[in-house]
Amino acid sequence: MSAQPDLLYSEEEEALRAAVRDLLTDHCDPAGVIARTESDTPHDLPLWKTLADSMGLAGLLVPESLGGQGATHREAAVVLEELGRAVAPVPYLTSAVVATEALLACGADDLLTELASATTVAALAVGLHVSPEGAVPHVRLENGALRGELTGIADAAVADVLLVPADDGGLYAVRTADAAVTVTPQVSLDLTRSVARVRLDGAAGPRLGDAGPAVRRALRSGAGLLASEQLGLADWLLTETVRYLKERKQFNRQVGGFQALKHRLARLWLEVAGLRAAARNAADALVTGADTDVAVAVAQAYAAHVAVRAAEEALQLHGGIGMTWEHPVHLYLKRAKADSIAYGTPGAHREALAEAVDLRAP
C-alpha cells in the first residue's frame, strides 16, 4: 500500500468516454430502450455490434496478440460508467469483462479471439447473485457429457457460449447452439439485463481449466467493475433529477429551490463523489494487483446503497411522472436494485472485508 492509487481519469480515458457517450447518444435513447424491453429482443445486439466494430469494446481486455485492444480494467471501468448512464442493454459486463476474465485465467486463446471479434458472446454460467467468495453451483459430468440446471445466468439469452462449472472442478465451454442446451429467459426485475435458466441434457464441450480460480477471478473483476456501472447509473440519475428540478415549477417557483430538496440532492452528490473515488480505486487496484480484495470489497459494500438511493430519490423527486412506465427512471431503479445483488450483496462484501481487515465477527 505504499504507492497511491491513481483515482483520476487520464486524457485517453476521457477520450474513450466521450466516444462511447457520443455513440450511445445516437444509438441508445431512453424511449428506444423502454420499447425494446417489451419486444422479442430485449438485448440490443445491433448496438453491441456497433460498439464492438467501431471501438473494439468487445475485446478491450483481450491482449492485442489475440485480436483485442490490450487495455486495462481502468478503461473498461470508464466504458461501464457510460453504459450504466444509458442503461444500455448490451452484454458488455457479462461477456467482455466476466467471461473474458474467466477465459484469460484458463488461457483459452481461441475463444478469446472469438470474443474480441464480437462474433461470439459468452456468459459465465454462474448465478448473477454469487459473490467472489460465494459457493458456486455446478452441473454434473457424466461420461463426458454435462447434465443439470443453472439459474440466474445474466445475458445467457444472447450468449453463444456458456462457461459452465462442473462437479469435477473443471470449467467447460458449451455452445448454446448445441441441441442438448436449453436457455429459457426468466422474468427478471432488471429489464435491461435479464437472467435466464440454463439446462444441459448431455451437452459436450472442451474443458478449459480449473473452475475455482477462473470463476473467482471473473467474479472479483465483475464485482470491482460493477461499481463503475453503478457510478454511471447514479451519476445519470443525479444529473437528470437536478435538471428536472430546475425546470419544474410549483408554488410559483422552481422546485429545486426548496431547501428540503436541495439538501437531499447535495447529500446524494456527496455520496456519488465518494462512489467515484471508490470505483476508481477498485478499477486501479484490479490493474495494479495492490490491495485488490479490500478495494473491491469497499467499492461493492458502498456502491449499491448509492446507486439504489440515487434511483429512489430520483423517482420520488420526479413526483408522479417518475412512477410512470414512460419515464426511464424505472429502468435505472430496476438495474440499480438488481446490481445491489449482482456479484454479492453489500453484506456479503462487508463480510469479506471483516476477514480482510481483521474486524472479525463475534
Partner: protein, 393 residues
C-alpha cells in the same frame, strides 16, 4: 538547475549554516524563514521563493531527515492557514514584513475574531462596531468561539464600519493587537468540560488605521480568503487508512472480543467502509489539485468528516458498554490543541458534536453544495438591499 534541485541545495546550505543539533529552535526557524524555505510559494523576502507550493514537500523532507525543528503548525493553525494567506493577498508592505515572520515561527500566535453571539451562520450580520477617530478606529463589541484568544498576540477581526449600508457592504477587516487594554478574554466552557474557545469582549479597543487590511467597506470580500482557507484546513488533511476515529474503534474491536455483538459488527463495518470511502475521496481531491484540476469535492469533505466523526464516536461509546458509562475527566482545562485520539471515547463523542457547527454548519454547507456545485436556485435573500441597522434581530 531545476526548482527542486535548487531548493534541495538551499536547504542543505541552511542546514550547514545552522546545524539543528546545536542551533536554538527559534534561531533555526528564523533562519529558515529568511532563506525563503518557510513556505516556498510565498514571495522572496516573506519566507518564500515564489515557486510552486507543491515543492514545499522537497524542503520538508530534507529538513525532517536532518532532524530540524518545525514551527509546530498545529499550534499556530489559525495564523498559518487563515491569517497568513489573507495578509499576503491584501496586506501593505509594512504589514507583511512586520507580521509574517513571527507568525510563521510561532513567536506571535494569531486568533480569529469573526463569529458573534448574534452572527453565526449569518456572519455578515455581525454587529461589532468600528468607528473612525483620527488615525485610529475605536472598536466595541463581543466575539465568540475564539480559539487561542488567551494565547494570541494578534487577531484578524471583522467589524461594522457603516451600519447604513446593506450588511455585506459595511464591513471592514482589521488586524487587532490582543494586548490592547480594551481586549478582555474569558474562557467559554464547552460540553466536554474544557474551554478550547473564548469569548472576547472589545471595549474601546484602538486600532491604528495602518492595521486595516484592505479597503474600508471591503471586509467581507477580504474575509472570503480567510474562510475559504478555513474549510480547506478543517476537511483537507491527508490520512492513512484507519487514520482518525475509525482507527480507535477498530483497535478496541480487535482488543476486546468480549464486547462484540452482531449488531455492533454490522454497524462498525458499515462505518469502516464509509470512512475508507471518505478517505479515498480526499485522496482523489488532492490528486485533482496536484494535477491542476481542482474538483468540487472539497465542498463536501467537511460534511463527511463531521457526520462520520459523530457516528463513529457514538458507536464507540456504545461498544464500550459499562466503560461507556464513564468519562475520563470533567476538569475545566484550556487545551492548546484539539486531540481527538488522545482522550477517551466519551470525549470524542461530545467534542465531535461541534464538527457540524464550527467552520460552517452542515446545513449551510449543504446549501453551498446545492447552489455552487449543482447550480440549484439560491435561498431567497430578503436582507440583500436592506441597511444593516434595519435588519430583524
Amino acid at each position: 538547475m531545476t526548482d527542486a534541485a535548487h531548493l534541495r541545495r538551499r536547504t542543505e546550505e541552511l542546514l550547514a549554516a545552522h546545524p539543528p543539533a546545536t542551533t536554538d529552535r527559534l534561531d533555526f526557524l528564523r533562519a529558515r524563514f529568511d532563506a525563503g524555505l518557510a513556505w516556498v510559494h510565498f514571495p522572496q523576502g516573506l519566507g518564500g521563493l515564489g515557486v510552486p507550493r507543491s515543492l514545499q514537500a522537497v524542503v520538508d523532507a530534507e529538513l525532517a531527515a536532518a532532524g530540524a525543528p518545525d514551527n509546530d503548525p498545529r499550534r499556530i493553525g489559525i495564523g498559518l492557514g487563515m491569517a497568513a494567506p489573507t495578509i499576503l493577498q491584501y496586506g501593505t508592505e509594512e504589514q507583511k514584513s512586520r507580521l509574517l515572520r513571527p507568525l510563521w515561527t510561532g513567536e506571535e500566535v494569531w486568533c480569529q475574531l469573526f463569529s458573534e453571539p448574534g452572527a453565526g451562520s449569518d456572519l455578515a450580520a455581525l454587529g461589532t462596531r468600528a468607528v473612525r477617530d483620527g488615525e485610529d478606529w475605536v472598536v466595541n463589541g463581543q466575539k465568540v468561539w475564539t480559539s487561542s484568544a488567551h494565547l494570541a498576540r494578534w487577531a484578524i477581526l471583522i467589524a461594522r464600519t457603516d451600519p447604513d449600508l446593506p450588511k455585506h457592504k459595511g464591513i471592514t477587516y482589521f488586524l487587532c493587537d490582543m494586548t490592547d487594554p480594551g481586549v478582555e478574554v474569558r474562557p467559554l466552557r464547552q460540553i466536554t468540560g474544557e474551554a478550547e474557545f473564548n469569548e472576547v469582549f472589545l471595549t474601546d479597543v484602538r486600532i491604528p488605521d495602518a492595521m486595516r487590511l484592505g479597503e474600508v467597506g471591503d471586509g467581507w470580500r477580504v474575509a472570503q480568503t480567510t474562510l475559504n482557507n478555513e474549510r480547506v484546513a478543517i476537511g483537507g488533511t491527508a490520512v492513512p487508512r484507519e487514520g482518525g476515529m475509525i482507527g480507535k474503534i477498530a483497535a478496541t474491536w480487535r482488543e476486546r472480543p468480549d464486547l462484540r455483538t452482531h449488531d455492533l459488527h454490522q454497524r462498525l463495518l458499515g462505518l469502516w467502509v464509509e470512512a475508507e470511502v471518505a478517505r479515498l475521496t480526499g485522496v482523489r481531491l488532492r490528486q485533482q489539485l496536484v494535477a491542476g484540476q481542482p474538483g468540487p469535492e472539497g465542498a463536501g469533505m467537511k460534511l463527511n468528516f463531521a457526520r462520520l466523526n459523530q457516528e463513529i464516536s457514538g458507536l464507540e461509546v456504545e461498544l464500550l458498554g459499562e466503560q461507556g458509562l464513564l468519562y475520563d475527566d470533567w476538569t475545566m482545562r484550556r487545551p492548546e490543541l484539539v486531540d481527538f485520539t488522545g482522550r477517551d471515547a466519551g470525549y470524542r463523542y461530545l467534542r465531535s458534536k461541534g464538527n457540524s457547527i464550527e467552520g460552517g454548519t452542515s446545513e449551510v454547507l449543504l446549501n453551498i453544495v446545492a447552489e455552487r456545485v449543482l447550480g440549484l436556485p439560491a435561498e431567497p435573500r430578503t436582507d440583500k438591499d436592506v441597511a444593516w441597522k434595519d435588519l430583524a434581530r
